[in-house]
Amino acid sequence: MEIDPLIFRLSIFILAIFVGYYVVWSVTPSLHTPLMSVTNAISSVIIVGAIIAGLSGNSDSIFDTSSIFGFLAIALAAINIFGGFLVTQRMLAMYKKKKKDK
């Protein structure tokens, strides 16, 4: 009579969709471009899968087919993570309020 973890994950997924819905609608329109780049960056958390894949080879053959795909995925995800967060930061740094002393 244990509950299948899949059902918990489904619950988490559904609630996260609600959170996503509300959190994105609350983003101010002037930051929609940074929103696109930051979602890009966070969706690269798929790198956790890539790391598992990369380290899946045994110690003799680090580079079997499956781990090579893993390493490639790591590199691709890393481009996105660094690129996405940094370009977002660069953009956000530009949004300034009027200086008071003017």
Binding site: V38, V48, A53, A75
Partner: protein, 467 residues
């Protein structure tokens, strides 16, 4: 090596940090902190993954090398990219996420033991389904984003590529994907897996080529949404909460942005996706009757004179400002106006430019404070009291036909009421129409002065004449 429970808690924490990252974007003040939350969440997720594998073999070194190599490329791109190239950048990055999802799925398929999903040829059914959906969506995201990128970069022609029987063909291919997933799950045969991937790449390509280059922003958002769902799919396979939460966040974000854009253009999502808009309309109504009617055109001197005598000016930037990279020149012009005690504010239409928030980023880049920049609803009533509307490279977003002519393709789209100002200045290079390909009656109005020139050049000239 840490326990599954502890790592589950950390993954949850990193998911929450990603939520806070998006939440930060609700205002510019909190946005930078939000981005830091996002970075922190990512660091936690990666660290926990290392710790939960716990196997610090040689492979570990290679992981670091690949992360640093990818990271260096990413950082390089992030610092070099001009702000005007954001749409391309986002498209390019999406393609990478899609491809990474595909690679992870391939790796899991080849070596399911490493992911605790069973053995090759005997993968748990649930995992296989999640995995193949993740792989298919990832592949579609990849090839679709590549086409979007090429169209935006101008490497590939932006005009829609259509051929007979396109829609039936796509429908057949899409159903074959479902069939392939079914076959894969019942036979566990690798062949079906590879065919599934190939067909998914193909359909991503076929879906995007009929869509006009200018519609790419909607496509990019849609693909963003796809990449989120792909990540969630892989998250179910890997039983990883951080991935599931993130997938749901990104999936909703992309869907909502596409919705906002479609609504701002007053078009249905299907109208965009079924394609063929860009070209046909343009040729249809582009040369309707703009030759015959007289326009008043002026030069930088006239414009400077008008603005000098104004007490308030509203700037309406559009796509042309981005093309001409005129944001810095514009900011200098505004500085000069302010020195002459003229009140200046900026009015941004929700779909000005070519991606959501496009104009805001460019103005921010040019150091325009964001509290001088207003959304359509905030400022639309102020046009009636302003002396000059300075429309720079914008066109459709000012077109009054959206309010008057139910036949017009943009009918019903909210527009900026620039015509209510005492005088309207239009900076553009010709009388040719904008994105929607329809003529703008405002060009021929009594109180309009056309300034035919490149936006940057004209703005600089005006600044000179203001002194």
């Amino acid at each position: 090596m840490i326990s599954a429970n502890l790592s589950a808690i950390f993954y949850l924490f990193s998911g929450v940090l990603f939520i806070l990252a998006l939440r930060g974007l609700s205002s510019p003040e909190t946005s930078r902190q939000g981005n830091l939350f996002g970075i922190l969440g990512m660091i936690i997720a990666v660290t926990v993954t290392f710790l939960s594998i716990g196997n610090f073999s040689n492979g570990f070194v290679f992981v670091l090398i690949f992360i640093l190599a990818g990271g260096a490329i990413g950082a390089f791109i992030a610092y070099k990219i001009p702000m005007t190239a954001m749409p391309e950048l986002v498209a390019g990055f999406h393609s990478l996420v899609g491809l990474a999802a595909v690679f992870v799925a391939i790796s899991a398929f080849l070596n399911p033991e490493a992911f605790k999903l069973g053995t090759p040829g005997n993968i748990k059914l649930g995992s296989l389904i999640e995995m193949s959906i993740g792989a298919a969506v990832g592949a579609i995201t990849f090839s679709g984003s590549v086409i979007a990128f090429l169209k935006l970069q101008g490497i590939m022609s932006g005009s829609p590529i259509t051929f007979k029987g396109q829609h039936p063909l796509n429908a057949i291919i899409l159903s074959s994907i479902i069939l392939l997933i079914y076959l894969l799950c019942s036979t566990q045969s690798p062949n079906f897996f590879w065919i599934l991937l190939a067909v998914s790449f193909l359909i991503g390509f076929l879906i995007i080529i009929p869509i006009g280059g200018a519609d790419m922003p909607v496509v990019i958002s849609m693909l963003n949404s796809y990449s989120g769902w792909a990540a969630a799919g892989i998250g179910f396979t890997l039983e990883n909460t951080a991935l599931i939460i993130t997938g749901a966040l990104v999936g909703s974000s992309g869907a909502i942005l596409s919705y906002i854009m479609c609504k701002g253009m007053n078009r249905s999502f299907f109208n965009v996706i079924l394609g063929g808009f860009g070209a046909t309309e343009e040729t249809l109504s582009g040369s309707k009757n703009n030759e015959q009617r007289p326009v008043k055109s002026g030069n930088a001197d006239d414009a400077a004179f008008l603005m000098k005598n104004a007490s308030s000016v509203i700037i309406v930037p559009g796509y042309g400002m981005a093309v001409a990279q005129a944001q810095h020149a514009l900011r200098e012009m505004v500085d000069t106006l302010k020195k002459n005690d003229i009140k200046v504010s900026y009015a941004i239409h929700p779909v000005a430019g070519r991606m959501p928030g496009h104009m805001n980023v460019l103005l921010a880049e040019a150091n325009v404070p964001y509290d001088e920049v207003f959304e359509l609803e905030e400022i639309n009533n102020d046009f009636a009291n302003a002396d000059v509307a300075f429309v720079i490279g914008a066109n459709d977003v000012t077109n009054p036909v959206a309010k008057t002519d139910p036949q017009s393709p943009i009918y019903g789209m909210p527009v900026l009421d620039v015509e209510k100002c005492k005088s309207v200045l239009f900076v553009k290079r010709s009388l040719s129409p904008g994105y929607a390909g329809i003529d703008n009656d405002l060009f021929y109005k009594e109180n309009t002065l056309m300034l035919f020139a490149d936006a940057k050049k004209m703005t600089e000239d005006i600044t000179k004449n203001l002194d």
